[in-house]
């Protein structure tokens, strides 16, 4: 068997890449892609634990996470489209209306 720690390590690396992507990148759509990456890394982690402990609860939770991720993407992209219609840009550096 592949050791559990490989899966967890991969999951952590993917999560970190996702976080850095959220914090650094300018394009709103790319930020959403990073959020998806974070969610999928967590899915990976859940499945790994589920397989190694024999408890199916982890895999069932993954179903929930996938569904929620999909819904969230749909709503998020709708917001970006509305934003684009107003500001004609998806560069979030230019969306700072709630500044002090």
């Amino acid at each position: 068997m592949i050791p559990l720690s490989y899966y967890i390590g991969l999951s952590a690396i993917l999560f970190t890449i996702g976080v850095v992507g959220v914090l650094t990148l300018r394009n709103a759509i790319v930020i959403f892609m990073s959020v998806e990456l974070m969610l999928n890394s967590v899915n990976l982690s859940l499945i790994a634990f589920s397989a190694y402990s024999g408890d199916p609860a982890g895999q069932i939770l993954v179903f929930f996470v996938i569904a929620v991720a999909a819904a969230e993407s749909a709503v998020g992209l709708a917001i970006i489209i509305a934003l684009f219609r107003n500001k004609l840009t998806v560069n979030i550096d230019e969306v700072n209306v709630l500044k002090w």
Binding site: V22, L23, I92, D93, V95, N96, V97, L98, K99, W100
Partner: protein, 650 residues
Amino acid sequence: MQSLIVCVVAFPIIGVLINGLLGSLIQKKLGERVVGIIGSAAIGFSFVCAILIFANMLGQPADQRKQAYDIYNWISTGSLSVGVSYLIDQLSIVMLLIVTGVSFFIHVYSIGYMHGDRGVFRFFTYMNLFVFAMLNLILADNYLLMFLGWEGVGLCSYLLIGFWYDRKFEGVGITWTGDAGMKAFIVNRIGDFAFLIGMFIVFMNFGSFNFDTVLGGASSRFASGDSTVTWIAILFFIGATGKSAQIPLYIWLPDAMAGPTPVSALIHAATMVTAGVYMIARSAVLYALAPTAMLIVAIIGAVTAIYAATMGLVQNDIKKVLAYSTISQLGYMFLAMGVGAFGAGVFHLMTHAFFKALLFLGAGAIMHALHNEQDLRNMGGLKTLMPGTYKTFLLASLAIAGIPPLAGFFSKDEILSYSFASSPILWSIGAITAFLTAFYIFRLFIMAFEGKPRFDIHHLHVHDAPATMLIPLWVLGILSVVGGWIGIPSILGGGENFDKFLAPVFEHAQAKMPTVYFTEASTDYILMIVSVALCVAGIYLAYVAYRKRPELSARLRRGAGDLYEILLNKYYIDEIYRTIVVQPLVYVSDRYLSRGLDEIIIDGTVNGTAKIVRFFGRILRRIQTGLVQNYALSFVIGIIIIVGFLIYAR
């Protein structure tokens, strides 16, 4: 009996409510007469109740005439328990009869005097409120309720002095009549401060304000000459100097003449100013235990009497002469209190109420007829034009001058007799004052009524006062004549009924008097003859100077020159007070309290707090960049810190 007493106090307050709340309406719809009738009737009913209470009291034996009635439990907390309780004894019934009786006639007089004024309902409301407060003062059976009445009459004095609030009035530092009212109230307040401190000391020592507790227990608690009781007595007396216009707090009374004349008659002659005398009479035991305080009272009383009389000699405003006369006569009452003649002081209070009220009302009638002329130099010749006023005013003048058998003679003479027994110096001050009194009152009388009219009789149609004003004048006139007959001393064949009636009230005090004052009958006769002689001399001198050879008075005035100016300007006392007391106080108040404490410190602190908040806010708000990624960064940092704690800080 209890309901009678409640009625006495309730009727005036009902008058206040009716005239106060509905008065404006009543005056418009039913006329000012109705307003006046409501106001007078309220006092009239009180007077009737007072007479009934008095009749009831006369039916009791002398040692059972004192009775306290608890009406309402006012304060009862912890160690302080004070009730609205009224004490009916000989002293309070005398005061009650004087206050309700004289008030009633002055109210009736006011119906005529205030005719045509647009605020008649306000006038009667304030007058009834005044009587209510005064009744509480004299009927109270504890110091706190008395103080309530004390402050209440001060308030009404302020309201009534400034009644014509849009009228100007000449005075040192005074422009409007309201300023004169403020002066009265503020100067009174200074005295009240001392009174309050005295009350606090009383409470500290007795745990109660009740007269029975305090005055009954004073003899056993304090030795004669004890410093505590001396302080209480002195502080109370300072309060009395404020309310009863003695040195040094008398300055408000001449300026109080800014108010309508019935106000001057009622408040500043017959009732309110006597509150101080009453208070000392009530607290007689405390004074008897403090000979030093009594000496102070006597000296200040005597000095005030002569000091005010000198100023009354030269004033040209008729009301000012009477104001100084009031101060002077109050000095007599305090002199009486100071030498232990408590009954005589109250006797003079009563006779003075009669003739001084009459003098003021008469002056009001003159002013009414001459269209508010107050300057004596513009009067004259009213003897034939206003016969009723002339006759009653003459009776009052003879009474105050002390001519027997009118009222003033008996009361003043009793005081002088006791003063002589105590100290011939005090007596001589009193005797000289009597001479001056006779002189200034007849100067006023002659200048107003005798001689040729010094005003334009063709343009000013002068007629005597209407019935509503004349009847009270006559009633008071008769009282000025016969009022003294209840106190005729035994050496003249009388029964001294007044003193005997009041004796049980002053029993405790008399027991503690340091020496027994006793004058031989022959000395008394001589004193009497001397005082009558002085009075007749005063009257004659006034007659000569103002009627027979008026050029004499003009020469005297020119000769006296500077002295005349000093007297006319009231020894410049208002100016002196202004420089020494008022201006420094105003300066300190303005610079240090208003600007320094209020603006700089308090406002500064409050505004400063706001400034600090704004300063930090300006720095901290920069966190709001509006960039979502910055917020997300703070999430991540937070998570890292928390996870770090969870893993490593276990």
